[in-house]
């Protein structure tokens, strides 16, 4: 067991898979000589050479489409979008080609697209988004959003092993801020399985990604008031762990769904609707959603702070539920 940052855990998992399986290669903008915009692949090109750590032209369509073609020929490509925001340029290749290929033609497309996501550093409208909800609506794709270093490594290995296109949303805010114990050996974390981040009996809080930590701080505050919050870290949004969510809701009877993405049509809506359909009789309060408002991600620190759900916002929502 070693203590690694979230970023080191991603690197560690990726490097291990490249050593283990010669089919795995990395492609993206500036991933080779430069080691990636966030240095996830630093030193990879020295170890694996320029044909397994491929500096691509500035062309997301070619990168993701190229991964699909290589995967169909038996490779296990891992693409890096420099920022998750730029995946919009590869939408067609993911949604039109990769996601539908197995259903139509019966051919598997085992690709991973790494997506540095999330805000909190004045990245502005084009370097801060959390686009997981858009892709969670696409049958044929899988979407994972690890929050801890251990999950970052285990989910990346699962994503590379998976025979389907997997979008791996890695939260930039966690890269160097979050450290944790990560087993040195190879292990997987199953896609579609949630993790109970904190146990509690009074209110359930369903979230994922960097919001797990915001939720934790808010839960600490509630604890002082005698309210025990259970935090369910979803870890994957497609497929998502419905049974873990419903189990927690049935225990607490009150639920807050929290995400950093914008509100309307955000993945929280799917969770809330499912709870309404399947656990209505168990609820003691209306399902509550807390998210960013329906605006682009603003640049200025004061605006961005107002945009991203803060600890106080979460604590307020939890109190409202506790008092309902």
């Amino acid at each position: 067991m070693a203590e690694l940052t979230y970023l080191q855990a991603i690197s560690d998992g990726l490097r291990g898979e490249m050593r283990r399986d010669h089919r795995v290669f990395v492609i993206g903008e500036d991933v080779g000589v430069y080691g990636g915009a966030f240095k996830v692949t630093l030193g990879f090109q020295e170890e694996f050479g320029p044909w397994r750590v491929i500096d691509a032209p500035l062309a997301e369509t070619a990168i993701v489409g190229g991964c699909t073609g290589a995967a169909l020929m038996g490779m296990r490509p891992v693409a890096e979008m420099q920022f998750s925001d730029f995946v919009s340029c590869a939408w067609d290749q993911l949604v039109t080609v990769a996601a539908k290929q197995h259903y139509r033609a019966g051919t598997a497309v085992p690709i991973v697209v790494r997506l540095p996501s999330g805000g909190g550093f004045s990245g502005g409208p084009f370097h801060s988004q959390n686009p997981e909800s858009s892709f969670a609506h696409v049958p044929g794709l899988k979407c994972v959003c690890p929050a801890t270093p251990a999950d970052a490594k285990g989910l990346l290995i699962s994503a590379i092993e998976d025979p389907n296109p997997v979008l791996y949303f890695e939260h930039k805010h966690l890269y160097r801020r979050i450290k944790g114990d990560v087993p040195e050996e190879r292990y997987t974390v199953p896609i579609g399985k949630a993790r109970i981040h904190r146990e509690g009996d009074d209110v359930s809080l369903i979230t994922w990604g960097a919001m797990v930590y915001t939720a934790s701080e808010a839960a600490d505050q509630l604890e002082q008031d005698g309210v025990a919050v259970e935090i369910v870290d979803l870890r994957s949004v497609l497929p998502w762990d419905k049974s873990a969510v419903l189990e927690s809701v049935r225990k607490t009877s009150k639920v807050l769904v929290l995400h950093e993405d914008t509100h309307t049509g955000g993945f929280g809506a799917e969770i809330a609707a499912t709870i309404g359909e399947e656990a209505f009789e168990d609820l003691d309060a209306p399902v509550k959603r807390l998210s960013a408002p329906d605006t682009p991600v603003p640049f200025s620190p004061s605006l961005e702070k107002a945009f991203i759900p803060q600890v106080e916002d979460v604590a307020r929502s939890l109190r409202e539920l506790a008092e309902y």
């Binding site: 283990r20 399986d21 010669h22 089919r23 290669f25 044909w51 397994r52 491929i54 691509a56 032209p57 062309a59 369509t61 070619a62 993701v64 489409g65 190229g66 991964c67 699909t68 073609g69 290589a70 995967a71 169909l72 020929m73 038996g74 490779m75 490509p77 067609d92 290749q93 039109t96 080609v97 539908k100 290929q101 197995h102 259903y103 139509r104 033609a105 019966g106 051919t107 598997a108 497309v109 085992p110 049958p139 044929g140 899988k142 092993e161 998976d162 025979p163 389907n164």
Partner: protein, 347 residues
Amino acid sequence: MAIAREAEPVGSLSEVREAGLDREDLLGMYRNMLITRGVEERGHILYKQGKIPGSFYTGRGNEAAAVAIGTAMGPDDVGTPLHRDMGVHIVRGVEPWRIFANYMGRADGPTRGRDGNVHMADARLGLIAMVSHLPAMLPVAVGAALAFRIRDERRVALGWFGEGASSRGDTHESMNFAGTRRLPVVFVCDNNQWAYSTPTHLEYAVEHLADRAQAYGFEGVVVDGTDMLAVYREAKRAIEKARDGGGPTLIECLTLRMEGHAVHDDAFYVPREMFEEWAKRDPLERFRDWLRENASLTDDEEDEIAAGVKHLLTEAMRRAEESPLPDPSTLTDGVYADPDELHPPHH
């Protein structure tokens, strides 16, 4: 002024032998062309009989280009043929009854009723199923070539697109990436001069689309797409060049789409003289005439080939009609692949 090389027509049988084809190969290509046209003509009949749901597309006028390029591919090469390239499926060995079954949405079509038309491919034959968003398959072809390059395999990927699709950014990204890495890929442009109703001068402003190749750092060549043997020669040259590490080539096959965009479209916007002029260069008749003059194709041989194709297609239609519609209970099957469909790690 054209930048791309303009390919000469093929003359004699000896020239063809130099390109690696013997008389038997030539008769096989002729037969594949007959099957290609026959599949689409019979598909049209099935459509009019109400047996094909949705719409129906043909590649009439493009049969020579498709068959020639399919023939020039090596057994381990791969490609992404489109809706005008039925001949590629035929050459690679897709059985016509399965094509009819796909047209009709039956359980035995290559897509098991999940997709229609020529949106199909048999991966075991080195083909990758197209999508409607053209030219979204070009980056995929480039990715296949990238895999061959990473593994140092002497294999080539072929990516098809039309002159309409040449206007989209995928084309640029694919050619630019393939050029920078000198990947073993051949880009084939089916330039049939009409993207639905849009003529070429509204799609591009260069003389030939193949002129663009130079800007990507590789060779472009324009070839008469109704000349089976000229297309074969250029495709073979480009494929072997790619196989030998010489990088990509863009081959532009110039034809005329002899029918509407799809069966509902009467192509009123195409000048009648244009159809008349290109009808004189019907690729099938043109190749048959060439075989008669240069390879002493006899009436008996011709009749025998035609009768064999007729029998094949009649049987194929019968067998396809016997194929059931997919069971609705299988609707959600196959959205995701299972791990056991793929091979274990390569150490």
